[in-house]
Subunit: 370 residues, 2 copies
Amino acid sequence: AGQDTSVAEEARAYLAQFYREKGAPRAFEVRWAQVSAELQRTGTYVQTYDELSFGAKLAWRNSTRCIGRLFWNGLEVRDMRHLTDEDEILSALVEHIELATHGGNLRAMMTVLAPANRAGEGPRIWNGQLLRYAGYPNPDGTVTGDPMNVELTTKALELGWKGGARTRFDLLPLIVKLPGREPRWMEIPRRVVREVPLVHPDLPWFASLGLRWYALPAVSELLLDIGGVKYPAAPFNGWYMATEIGARNFSDPYRYNMLPVIAERLGLDIQRSSSLWRDRAQVELVRAVVHSFERAGVKIVDHHTASEDFVQFAQAEQGQGRCVHMRWSWIVPPIGGSATSVFYMDEDRHPDVTLKPNLFYQPKPWTGAA
Amino acid sequence: AGQDTSVAEEARAYLAQFYREKGAPRAFEVRWAQVSAELQRTGTYVQTYDELSFGAKLAWRNSTRCIGRLFWNGLEVRDMRHLTDEDEILSALVEHIELATHGGNLRAMMTVLAPANRAGEGPRIWNGQLLRYAGYPNPDGTVTGDPMNVELTTKALELGWKGGARTRFDLLPLIVKLPGREPRWMEIPRRVVREVPLVHPDLPWFASLGLRWYALPAVSELLLDIGGVKYPAAPFNGWYMATEIGARNFSDPYRYNMLPVIAERLGLDIQRSSSLWRDRAQVELVRAVVHSFERAGVKIVDHHTASEDFVQFAQAEQGQGRCVHMRWSWIVPPIGGSATSVFYMDEDRHPDVTLKPNLFYQPKPWTGAA
Ligand code: HEM
Ligand code: HEM
C-alpha cells in the first residue's frame, strides 16, 4: 500500500548503479527484493551506511556547478540520521565544523541528518552555510557585514539571538528546525571556528583593511537526493577556491563591495573603467586570499590548479565511460577565465544535465514550504 | 514550379517582421504577393536594399555571442550583390577596410556579396577575417606568427603568394573564390591597413616586446541568412573589445601565448600558479591594448563599458517587448568576469535561442562543401 512509483523507480535505479559501480552487480537482486518489500510496506526504505555514503559521493560527482569534483570519492560521510533532538543536532554540526576544519588541513565531509517524511518534511538548517557573517542593515541603507545574510540575521534576532559586536565579521548562530517544532539556535563555540585575517604578499597596507574570512565553506541549505530518499539537511564542505572569497564575497557589489576601496589604495584611476581598476583590484584581492590562507596553514586552492584538477576529473570520468556534465558559467572561474583550462571545455559536449543522486536547491526554510 | 516551402516560409516571416518593425504592417501584403510570385517562378527572390540592410541589422541583433549589440541599428550595409568579377570583389573588400577603419574612428559596416544559388554555391572569402596575420610553421614545431592561421597561410602559399617578411605580423592576402572558378588572391594595400603597436601606460619595456595588432576586426567567414536568402560572403566589422586582443589573441596558449613572457618580464613567479602570474600578465596585456589604441586614436571598448552597453541593449530590447537571447559563455568577457555587469545576467532567462535573420558558421571554404 502507498508505494510511490517514482520513489520505487529511483530506488531501483540507484541500487542498480550502486552495485554496478561497487563491482557486485549480482548482489543487486537480493537487496532490491528487500527494498521493494520495504517500499510496499512503508512507502520508503532505510538506506545502509554504504548506500548513503556512496550516494553522497555520487551527488557530489553529479554536481554540475562544482569545479572540485576530482576528489568526489574521498568524501567522508557522517551518518547522523538517528538524531531527533535539536541540541544533539546542533552539537553534531559543531562537531562537523571541527572535524572538517581539521586544524587547517581541511577534509571534504558531509553530515547527513534524518530524511524527509512522506509529507516532505524533515530537519532544516536555516543557515545557508554553517559559518556565515551577520549582515546588519543601517538606517542609511548600507549594511554592516555580509549583505547576503541580512534576512538570516533578522531571523536570528527574532529568535532571541542578541547579535554580535556589530563588526563586519560577526558569526551568526546555528539555527535548526525540526518538523512541527520551533526553530532552535546556538552560538558556535569560537574554538572550533578557524578564521584567516587577510594580508597581502607585497602590500603592507592591505592588512589595515581589516578583512578576514572563515576557513570552512560548508553549504547547509541544499537537499541531498539519493535513490528516492530526500535529506533536507546534509551539510557538506570542501575547501575554498580563492576566487570565491576574493572575486565574489569581497568583490561583488552586493556583498562586501571592496573593489573601489582597494583600487583607491592601489592608486588606480577609478573614474575610467578602461584603467581596468576593477580587474587589478580583484587580482590583488585574490592574491591576498591565497597568500593569507597558505601563510595560516589553511588548505585552499587557486583557480588555475582547480581548473587543471577539473580537467583531470573529466578525463578520469571519460576513462570510466561516463559523461561529464557541467554548467560552464559556474565552472569557469570569475577572474582570469581564458587563462584557465576549463574555459576551453566545450559547453555543447558537456551539457548541464542533472543526474541523480544530486544536491538540489529547496525553498528557504522559513517560508514554511516543505 | 520548384518552390522550396521553407524558403517561402522564411521569406514570409521575415517580410512580415520587416514591415511590422518598420511600422507599416499593411504594406506587407503587396510585397508578399510580389515575392511569392517571384518564388514560384524562380525559387528565390531579390531583396530590396531596405530588406537586405534591415535584415543585416537584425542578423547582428540576433547574434547571441555578440556583446556589442547595443549599436545594431547603426550598421552600415554596402550592397555589392552585383559584383561578378574577382578583381571587383577584392577591390570592394579593400574599400570596406578603408571605409570601416575611417581613419581610426571605426564604423560598424557590412559588405554583402551575391547570394548563394539554388545549389547553395556562392562567393566565398577564404580569410576568416579580412585582416589576418600569417602563421608559418617552423621545423621545431613552433609557429612564427598567428598559429590560428597556419592553414590559411598554407593555402595562400599554394595559390602562389610568396609570403611576407616572415615576421610575427605578416598580413595575409585576401583570397576570394567564385563558384566553378579558381580562387583569386591579392595583397592588401598597406595604406588601408591601420595597425597599432602595443605600448604600456606604466611599463616602458613593454614596447620592446614588439607586439602590434590591426585596428579592424572584420569577420568574413560567416553566412548571412535573411528571409530565406543565404549570403555566404558578407564580411562585417565593429570595433575591438580590448580583451579580444589582450586576453585571447595574445594570451591563448594556441595563439601568441605571451603570458609566460610577460609574467617573467613582470618578475612574477611562474612556477607557482597561485602567484596568479597568468591573471596579472593578462590584465597588464589588456591595459596595454586599451592604452595603445586610445593613444593611437583608434576606437576600442573595454570590457566593463561593453558590458554596461550590453545591459542597456537588453533593457532596450525588453522595453520593445522583445526577448534577449545570449550565449553567456561568450558574452561574459574572458577576464574580470565577475567584475562586469553581464556576469549577473541570468542564463536561464536569456537562453541561447537562434532567431533568423542571423549569421551562421559554414564549412571551411576550401573543403569544397558548399
Ligand atoms: C573539495 C574541494 C571543493 C572545491 C574546491 C569546490 C569548489 C566549488 C566552487 C568554486 C563552487 C562554485 C561556488 C560558487 O560560485 O558559489 C562549487 C559549487 C558547488 N559544489 Fe563544490 N567544491 C568542493 C567540494 C564540494 C563537495 C564536498 C561537495 C558536495 C559533497 C560539493 C558540491 C558543490 C555543489 C552542489 C555546488 C553548487 C552550489 C550552489 O549552487 O550554490 N563541492 N564548488
Ligand atoms: C560594434 C562593435 C562590436 C563589438 C564591440 C563586438 C564585440 C564582440 C565580441 C567581443 C565578440 C566575441 C568574439 C570572440 O570571442 O571571438 C563578438 C562576437 C560576434 N559578433 Fe560582435 N561586436 C561588434 C560588432 C558586431 C557587428 C557589426 C556584427 C554583425 C553585423 C557582430 C556580430 C557578431 C557575431 C556573429 C559574433 C560571433 C562570432 C563568432 O562566433 O565567431 N558584431 N562581438
